[in-house]
């Protein structure tokens, strides 16, 4: 009797339910903190809803009017600014990350103290972006240490006013992003390289391949999926760039609004608590980011299938 019952129960045991139970916390959190705000953002973007002084205006339903006025504003200019600021930071970032990753992972180099260097290059990322930007603001101000140093060395006669020039400001923002993120990227790429079968590198070396050839013919093709992943996550992060330029230019995106990023533009609408316009801008950003994510997804899975097929 007892044995029979046990047997019956064992038959019905389905371990998959535990999978679902353990997933509940994630989905509940996701629902409350991500999904509901996302949907309400779509909803809010259809309303005229802001504060004039202490008087609340709206919410009045206006359909797609917010989207129309966003596209009539300088949206493309701010998108351009954001992409330019990202590229300025990303090119040196990926260059140095690749070099460092290859060196750190190289079995013949056997770099001493690589753990030490790995920690050091990651450190800038630990500092808060806002403090980092404040530091640069002070360093590169008209009467700041950087100008004093250059004048003492006799390289310049009068201070360079970095933050009043378009490329000075953009350059500093890019440089800061590069400093903050190249350590992170190095570690990701290094993990990818270490994952490659070292026999491939050894075989290439025995066949007389030079380091550059090993890099272009073996390292790059094998780490391509991770490389694309790094590229796209960085681009998505870049599109949402905010804290560094915001603090460096005091929220103004000076000069001539050329360092105004999309999120800073969004933030400007919060001066008047303009949830309609800010919501519309968020939705536009969402669509752009989603499109980019789909691109990376299809590139990644597409290349994987090809490999499987040709084998």
């Amino acid at each position: 009797m007892v044995r029979e019952k046990k047997a019956k129960a064992r038959k019905k045991v389905s371990y998959s339910k535990w999978g679902y139970i353990f997933l509940i916390p994630f989905f509940a959190t996701y629902l409350v903190f991500s999904f509901i705000p996302l949907v309400t953002t779509f909803y809010n973007s259809m309303f005229e809803n802001y504060r004039s002084g202490l008087t609340q205006i709206g919410p009045n339903f206006v359909g797609f009017e917010n989207y129309i006025s966003i596209f009539q504003s300088d949206l493309l200019k701010y998108l351009g600014n954001t992409v330019i600021l990202w590229i300025i930071g990303f090119i040196p970032q990926i260059f140095f990350s690749l070099i460092l990753a290859v060196w750190f992972a190289d079995f013949r180099m056997k770099l001493r103290g690589s753990t030490f260097f790995k920690t050091i290059i990651y450190l800038p990322n630990v500092i808060m972006a806002a403090s980092f930007a404040m530091l640069f603001f002070a360093l590169f101000s008209d009467d700041g240490p950087m100008n004093n140093l250059l004048i003492r060395m006799g390289l310049i006669d009068s201070p360079i006013r970095y933050l009043t020039t378009v490329w000075g400001t953009r350059g500093l923002v890019g440089f800061m992003n590069f400093m903050m993120w190249f350590g992170n990227t190095t570690i990701l790429l290094m993990a990818a390289i270490l994952g490659v079968d070292s026999a491939l590198f050894e075989a290439a070396a025995i066949d007389g391949a030079k380091s550059l050839q090993i890099f272009t013919k073996i390292t790059m093709p094998t780490i391509k999926p991770i490389f694309i992943y790094v590229l796209i996550t960085s681009l998505i992060g870049g599109l949402q760039m905010f804290d560094v330029p915001q603090v460096l230019t005091n929220g103004k995106g000076t000069p001539d609004r050329t360092s105004m990023t999309l999120i800073m533009f969004l933030n400007n609408h919060l001066y008047s608590k303009n949830y309609g316009m800010a919501g519309a801008l968020s939705v536009i950003l969402f669509i752009m980011t989603a499109a980019l994510s789909l691109v990376v997804f299809f590139i990644l899975t597409g290349s994987g299938k090809e490999k499987g097929g040709s084998r």
Binding site: L38, L54, D256, S293, T301
Partner: protein, 471 residues
């Protein structure tokens, strides 16, 4: 294929959560996200202060919203000892840049009804640039209901009362200071360039804008700067406009502001100024011992609160004192300058819903109406107080400002105070002044032409005030 669909969905979900992180910023519930962005050390300090003191007795905490330490210092020196036992005053400080102060204040006022007695706003400070926004709202109390009468305020300068009345004529704010501005210059530079440091003689050299320009050229020849930067003469023009910023719902740039743009562009290109911006580190160091700037347009609070501190060689934080011989303290003098103007001013408002109205009224009466206290503020802090009796008496008396090399500038302040006309202010002044100055900085720096700078101003103005029209 099915796997691909599932992982595609997961990928989309991931992307969605990335953006949701930023879009939730625009969800209506959070408290002043712009304020959070510009959180400074000062603000966090204030927050920890709040936490420290909030645990006290029920309803016996007086919350005062401020944007800097000016009023806090007045309070500490002239009222703190009178505070009844058991009460605590808590200053909530948020810097005004990027509207952070008003955002924080608005959020607190809108929550006033639901707040615990200890968290209710009891009193808050406002500036002339945005006072109308608050006095015309229901969030401020008629001072009569608080316990400050017209009789109490009878000695105050008229403009300080008129500006703080709502559209129905109820008195909603009170100020302890008057802010007539003068031109405060360096005596040593005046001697070196003009051959005299006598205020009457210097006044002849800057009596109108034409002679001001000529003196500026002379300063440049001797290696000095007439003004520090872009914003220094702004208030002399913006306070003498013919019409308010906003006409109906339309933004109008007054011809006098155009004059400021043209003058500043000319000064920048000719090297008459140091290309600084207001409150920047370079602007402040120009007032110190190494400074090469001839003078600054400043009201009385600027002398006390700004110039005196920046003029020291050994800062007060390092143990220095405000005394002649420390840096260029005492090397200054005041004169009227080309035009009378008013800059700033701080008004105290009682918040509707305060649970400590009697103490709020007492603070107001002591600091803004009491003759003895106000006289002490002038003598000890060089501020210009909002009390005709005290000021006229001191102007005729033997009051001497050590900072101004023994000069008694009070008669000049008194005369200027009588001339001030604040009828051209609008509720949008704060945001529009800030946007206008910022947009023009690019033009002065030569980054853009004037039309582009104007276009940037309109863009920024409409972001701040969607209800306004441009052109």
């Amino acid at each position: 294929m099915k796997k691909k669909v599932v992982s595609g969905l997961l990928c989309a979900v991931m992307a969605a959560s990335l953006v949701a992180g930023c879009s939730s910023k625009s969800a209506p519930s959070e408290s002043g996200s712009t304020a959070a962005d510009t959180t400074t050390a000062k603000e966090t300090e204030a927050k920890t202060e709040t936490q420290k003191e909030a645990g006290g007795e029920g309803g016996k905490v007086i919350n005062i919203y401020v944007w800097n330490d000016e009023f806090k210092a007045r309070y500490e020196d002239y009222y703190a000892s009178k505070l009844p036992a058991g009460y605590k005053v808590n200053f909530v400080t948020t810097p005004s840049e990027n509207n952070a102060y008003q955002n924080a204040l608005d959020e607190a006022l809108l929550n006033q009804n639901d707040a615990k007695p200890d968290d209710k706003v009891d009193m808050f400070l406002v500036e002339a640039d945005y006072i109308l926004k608050y006095v015309n709202s229901d969030y401020t109390m008629d001072l009569k209901d608080v316990g400050v009468t017209e009789q109490d305020m009878s000695k105050q300068y008229d403009y300080t009362k008129v500006i703080a009345k709502d559209s129905k004529g109820a008195q909603k704010g009170i100020s302890w200071q008057g802010c007539p501005g003068l031109y405060i210059y360096r005596r040593s530079i005046a001697k070196a360039v003009l051959g005299t440091d006598d205020p009457a003689e210097v006044q002849k050299a800057i009596n109108d804008w034409d002679s001001f320009d000529k003196t500026a050229a002379k300063m440049k020849d001797k290696g000095y700067y007439m003004l520090s930067g872009f914003d220094d003469s702004y208030r002399t023009f913006s306070n003498n406009v013919a019409a308010p910023w906003v006409n109906g719902k339309k933004i109008a740039i007054d011809p006098n502001l155009e004059k400021w743009v043209d003058q500043t562009k000319k000064y920048t290109d000719s090297g008459y100024n140091q290309k600084t911006t207001l409150w920047a580190a370079e602007w402040a160091s120009g007032q110190g011992p190494e400074g090469k700037v001839f003078g600054y347009f400043m009201p009385a609070w600027g002398v006390d609160f700004v110039l005196a501190k920046n003029s020291l060689a050994k800062a007060e934080a390092d143990g220095g004192k405000q005394e002649v011989g420390n840096g260029v303290y005492g090397d200054w003098a005041a004169t009227i300058g080309p035009e009378s103007y008013n800059w700033g001013g701080t008004w105290l408002c009682a918040a509707n819903g305060t649970d400590n109205a009697d103490i709020v009224a007492d603070i107001m009466k002591t600091i803004c109406c009491d003759d003895a206290t106000m006289k002490k503020i002038v003598e000890e802090k060089n501020d210009f107080v909002n009390n005709k009796t005290v000021m006229e008496a001191l102007a005729k008396g033997d009051y001497k400002s050590a900072f101004l090399g023994g000069q008694n500038p009070l008669q000049m302040y008194c005369d200027a105070a009588e001339k001030i006309d604040m009828s051209k202010i609008s509720p949008y002044d704060q945001g529009l002044n800030e946007s206008f100055q910022n947009a023009m900085h690019d033009y002065f720096n030569g980054t853009v032409d004037k039309d582009t700078a104007l276009k940037n101003f309109y863009t920024s103005a409409q972001e701040k005030y969607p209800e306004l029209e441009t052109q």
